[in-house]
Symmetry: C2
Subunit: 399 residues, 2 copies
Amino acid sequence: MPYYIGDVIKDEKRLIARTPEKFRETGIDVRIDARVEEVDSRAGAVRLADGTSLPYDVLVLGTGTTPLMPGIPGEDREGVFTLKKLDDAVRIKARLREVPCRKALIVGAGFIGMEMAEALRNLGIETSILHRGELPVNRWDPEFGKVILEELRIHQVEFVTGTETKAVAEGKSHGLSLATNHGDVEADLILMAVGVRPDAVLASQMGLPLGKTGAIQVNFSQMTPREGVYAVGDCAESFHRVSGRWVNIPLGDIANKQGRVAGRNIGGKAMVFPGIVGAQSFKVFDLEAAATGLDEREAALAGFHPASALIWGNAIAGSMPSNTKLGLKLIADRATGKLLGAQAVGRVGAVSRINTLSAALWAGMTLDDVGWLDLAYAPPVGPAWDPIHVAAQTLQRKL
Amino acid sequence: MPYYIGDVIKDEKRLIARTPEKFRETGIDVRIDARVEEVDSRAGAVRLADGTSLPYDVLVLGTGTTPLMPGIPGEDREGVFTLKKLDDAVRIKARLREVPCRKALIVGAGFIGMEMAEALRNLGIETSILHRGELPVNRWDPEFGKVILEELRIHQVEFVTGTETKAVAEGKSHGLSLATNHGDVEADLILMAVGVRPDAVLASQMGLPLGKTGAIQVNFSQMTPREGVYAVGDCAESFHRVSGRWVNIPLGDIANKQGRVAGRNIGGKAMVFPGIVGAQSFKVFDLEAAATGLDEREAALAGFHPASALIWGNAIAGSMPSNTKLGLKLIADRATGKLLGAQAVGRVGAVSRINTLSAALWAGMTLDDVGWLDLAYAPPVGPAWDPIHVAAQTLQRKL
């Protein structure tokens, strides 16, 4: 009987608590809250925290990521959270129910910071984002960062730049007090959202090689260099089709695909994971932001000669009443004209454009192709010359 | 001084009436309402309806399409319209202002029929679509046709199937009466929207070769077989990259691109129109419909061995409150696994998917590529396994 060892948490509706039972019917032994302490890969067995030893023929590591913490005194206080697992969400929701929560602090301005700012504001909670840098989500061009910042401001999210956190202590008017280089700030809830790193503790202990990314090295079948040991999801590397390098981009869709590839190979059917192009997106209030491929820095590191163009166009035809602005940036290689990456921001249509450009990156298209792509034109869904065309032609003139 | 001869109409705001003047400042002689009666290509001159003869070195034909009429008695009555030119829209709007318009009939169920049904319903006018066939927009799979039909019904548009029109006469309770095989129907306005054909009258008279489509044959520089004579837009053919044939798809974005290619070549800069993949879309009330590439019939005609799969998925993650269903159909070749076409219908996300798949068609991707495309995943903008992935993998299993 294959084992599935996870830390899946029983949620309020006991939906997930039923999972082990459901799986057992199909011959799979799912154990929740079962921490693996050690893998003895010579003997082919895992040792659980309760001392149980489970033998295996095939082992799949899906250990995910560990949220980073600032490493400051008091960061383990009650009311200070990270948001990585379902368990974390359940605990945050419990806190919001149990403590009158009027004010929240978010440390960090990545995807989690953006999404949680929206969620907390929608509950009417006064919310501040404390950020090391000057603009949110630094994967996007500063011009787009400013648009995202404005969206936060419109929704009364305070954004504090150049912030270093020092310590968490008990508050006076609120439950907690966060000491920073700008002084003390009080809040009822603090979310640490400063990033994640691949959880490769078991892999390291087994002597499996990690990449420069700190994630577990795998091949196109998701197998590690050790026969019969696979790694999938946020703890594993993926082949980036644009940079030609192995990267770690912890996203749910990539994890899903890798899991499928490992499963098929383990089951005796040949399947290969053909890699990624770095497509990603988030929504914050009424704004979509999406990106794909490489930014200029990554492109230069990969040995390309990046040039870029950033344009503002119409998400739908300019003559339509609900027309909204769409910002689109393209990055291409001066030497070959190859598209290398794209970023977009807008109320509608940003993800749509980035997905089309992700297909273009997948195929290795040049700007010449991108500038002529045949897209489904109709005034309510796009302009005759789509921002994709305009951006590609603008950048082509710069090369 | 280059000439620009069009039939652009002065609209209410006199915006377009200023066009000739604006162009003259830049050295271009634009003449509106200037009908070209004949082209003498040996002498290199066009003869206008008013007798003027204008010499040319280079001639661009942009004669567009002519709307088809059913060819029934009374179809030229006041209150019976086609919708092709700005002039037509201005005349329809004038009719709506001048005559108390309570009821409208639309003959035909293509893009124009759909869009005008929405426009007329939004004005509170009782609207019926009379259609020869059983379902609207027959480019889409019947399953999607039914969804579109339901959208029309929700918005109180009557849809009458298997209709043959016989004659238009004066009405009793409304201004007009349309005789059909189902009996007489009265209305204050009748829109004939039964299709268009390329307007190749001048081209034929010049002895230029037309394709099987009835549109003017051009090369990749938009030049006809006659040196110095170009054709662009709805009157010209385009190279279809999937079927490898020259087709006539009268759409504004294609016309725009072809105009640019002709202009650059005439101006002495080399530019090539790389063709189309047949991307198209329309919106009707709250529904998006989009399609690209070939349908099964076209694929078989082109010598492919089509197989198809139609799936219903989520436009955004199933866990999101505003989740809506998205229908996606893919067509691929059994022999090569190559993607050949796609169709989609949904409240959101249909055009987005079709544009991504249009990029895939442009690049000649197989289903294997499409099934792994890296798309920008986030729950508010798409599921982890996008309908694109699900449809591609479903179809792959059928091949």
